[in-house]
Symmetry: C2
Subunit: 330 residues, 2 copies
């Protein structure tokens, strides 16, 4: 294993130190391990808190800022944040209008966010939750009952964040987050394993010329292994899997996401194939993102996430956002 | 070799097809292989054209847009664009105020941009050039007489692009580009080789636990090989090399750049060490970028680029930019 780290047990703290130095517009509490917008809490605004294991950067801390999250709770690599951390973040960003937890569907995350929500309720902070479970690859998996939460988390954080910024009440912000999740599906393909610093060796082995179809973002097994194939073939496997769960038509929002070790030139090749597939099926990539957004350390591969848009979702997607990882508008 | 491609000889065209589909605000000419701002040429504005081998994405095509480039000419992987391509781009974006070529110092790029500039002069388009040669690792190299051009290309494109947007004349835009280059230095470290699609195997081999210090962005050899070491040790090698060429003091602009296969969490760890180093030496990372910007396909590793700032350079760096790869401001 070769990695740009100082020691296995300081990876998350060292990265947060760098995040704080690079982004003075964030407030990073290294003791409690919470990343805040510098101006949180904003009175009267619903607070948005997400979090999960580290190793998926820029998710989640890279999406803290205007129009998206108020705070993020990074756990250790591929390990849920602890309830105390989530309570700290939630109570700090509660501006009197309640707090939305955006939780990817992994057993540890679900339990710890639930426990934190109960503790926050005891302190008088109202908490609602959106559970993201967009990954159609497997029914249950190593760390999950039900579908896994992956790329659509970005869609939920962006769109719910935009609505919260407009001053919508907690119930509405939660409802639109749930709507985005219901309208979104994802599927991932791995060309290589990731290597966690703690393990020091690849989580799994793939033969030369073999890919894992339906990979999870922690290297959990997918549906099957297959010969590597062309970009077109790999994208078609992913899109057929999405299409089986989410009839594709009209305007869609598309994320072609790199797993962390895949160069951008390959992701644009994949996007060309996704775009062609959508047009063949009477749908349009009306909005898109191509890049490394929901990663799995150094894994090579990609995932496709698609959300079927409404006018309201498009409007909220287009609304201004200013975070380290996503930025547009005035 | 496992890559998300359709065929070795369609990599660049397929990626440009994806770029066009993802970014309707760009105009991508697949025949001539030029990527334009949709509204180019802008009468009275100096046009900015850059280009070079593909495989360094988002450089250069990802930096076409308001406040940066008017056009980019992507060559084949790690291969200079041809003169015809550069002529096409230059004459198309010339708005009557002349065109600046931003050229990385590699022999092929230098020759082809020179030939194109002569052809454009024959057609009455005035062309000036900024030659970027920021990489302090080696004096000459495989593809270069003199220092190589790497990460500072992004600084030159951004800052010269901002000045051109304000309506400055060609001589001033070229002068500020040259000033940025003179004030900038870079140094890279590879943890692994890249693999070009055409070769299908790594360009070079590194032993487990070994890194290449002073790597070039095409996998050209650096200064030496060394044991991998910690992030702190690797960053200190890079910063000591920079410091020997560029006395570090006052406000600096810092790019901690991933080579394409390195996850963001490791780049933030590297940035924390760069920031600490600068502070120890009485300098400040007043502005910074952390991410994959000037890549080398799937290579794992990082480079550090530093530019010593003036008030004017800071102002131009902060000016609005709207490109696929870099975006801020209104």
């Amino acid at each position: 294993m070769k990695k740009i780290i100082n020691a296995v047990d300081t990876v998350v703290t060292d990265a947060l130190t760098g995040l704080a130095a690079a982004h003075p517009e964030l407030r990073v509490d290294l003791d409690t391990r919470v990343v805040y917008r510098a101006n949180a809490p904003r009175p009267g605004k619903v607070g948005l808190v997400s979090g999960g294991g580290s190793g998926h950067e820029p998710l989640h801390a890279g999406f803290v800022g205007y129009g998206m999250l108020d705070a993020a709770c990074p756990g250790e690599i591929f390990t849920s944040p602890v309830p105390d951390q989530i309570v700290e973040a939630t109570t700090a960003v509660g501006g009197g209008a309640g707090v939305l937890h955006i939780v990817k569907n992994y057993t540890g995350d679900v339990l710890n966010f639930e426990m934190a929500a109960e503790l926050c309720a005891d302190e008088g902070v109202e908490v609602a939750r959106v559970l993201v479970d967009d990954d159609v690859a497997v029914r249950d998996s190593l760390y999950t009952a039900g579908r896994r939460g992956t790329g659509a988390t970005l869609f939920v954080e962006k769109i719910a964040g935009a609505l919260a910024e407009e001053g919508a009440p907690l119930a509405e912000v939660a409802a639109i987050g749930n709507e985005v999740n219901a309208r979104s599906r994802s599927f991932g393909v791995a060309l290589s394993s990731c290597t966690t610093p703690a393990a020091g060796k690849p989580t799994f082995e793939l033969a030369e010329g073999e890919v894992e179809l339906g990979i999870g973002i922690h290297g959990e097994p997918g549906r099957s292994r297959a010969p590597a194939g062309t970009a077109r073939e790999l994208v078609r496997v992913a899109m057929d899997a999405l299409q089986a769960h989410l009839p594709l038509s009209g305007d869609t929002l598309v994320l072609v996401n790199g797993m962390g070790g895949t160069p951008l030139i390959e992701l644009y090749i994949a996007f060309a194939e996704v775009d062609a597939y959508l047009r063949e099926h009477g749908a349009t990539a009306a909005r898109s993102l191509v890049g490394n957004y929901v990663t799995s350390l150094d894994m090579q591969g990609f995932s496709v996430s698609v959300c079927t848009l409404t006018d309201e979702l498009t409007r909220l997607w287009d609304a201004p956002v200013r975070t380290p990882g996503l930025r547009w508008g005035p």
